[in-house]
Amino acid sequence: MAQRIRLAKRVVAESDRLAARLAETFQRAGVFVANLMSSPGSGKTSLLEETARRLAPELRMAVIEGDLATDRDAQRIRKAGIPAYQINTGGGCHLSARQILDALDRFDLAALDVLFIENVGNLICPAEFDLGERRRVVLASTPEGDDKPIKYPVAFNKADCIVLNKIDLLAATNFSRDAFLGFVRGLNPAAPLIELSCRTGEGLDAWLDYVRAERRAAAAGAPRTPK
């Protein structure tokens, strides 16, 4: 006689448990942790390089890099002047809470103000996995096209901050800024949207102010508000 056992258990329950532990650790240390997500090539590493160069005099920062292979991104970040630890996921399409927990052994959180997690370049799976971060930052760039948000609605809906990079290339592409804004706001009416160019430096100040403000909130012990 068949019997049905009702479970109603989230498949990623174990991952959620680890993420909650991470969030608690970050909050106790008063560190601002941002999880950066985008397609490959949107400029996550470039944004972190610029952030490192410009904020190093006032904030103590570090980066956890996630890539399938190579430590090229970590090398770039170190060259920009801040510590970086590279995780190679092999075939893995996203960073996991377990990998972040293990990577924390490499850092003295108490000696940090900001920890950036640069996720694997991919807008699908990273959106599903909480890493205990205070903020999820989603990047897009003009050459990718203005319809990225509606093609990857989950990532844009869950974003706490949206960065549009490579605005210096606007004239060279058929990217419509209005269309992009419309798509973003259809999915996420409230998240700050920062338009910038890592190459020219235009708009970077707004991003740096965002990091400063979030760092102050984290240092004051403000809890995160995951969506």
Partner: protein, 130 residues
Amino acid sequence: MHEVALAQAVWRQVGAEMARRPGARLAAIRLVAGRWSGADPESLEFALRLLVNESAWSKVAIHIRPLPLGLTCKTCGHAFEPPETLLACPACGGRDVEVTQGRDLYLESLEIEESDGPTHPPGQTRRCRK
């Protein structure tokens, strides 16, 4: 492609449940995959089937029920299924909405059979030596 990792997580949960029920035979696994769960039901079933086939319970049925996206308007309380690209309330036009359904992948239930015969999976039958 992370469906393999998800299938492994499902399989661990199934294993933990079955370990608490010695003597039971697993007949079916029922999952619910939300539209925004990031799991493709077909890939998930494929990955889970590979794990099931390697186990002692290879005849297990796998059912994955897709669940559409559901939103609730925080302004007027209206619940609705939106088009995927514009999350606005059709009743009041409000944009302050909450995703109330379709974000999760979860293990809904297991179907088991309490058999009167040998209780261990085939190949693992043991004899009492008392």
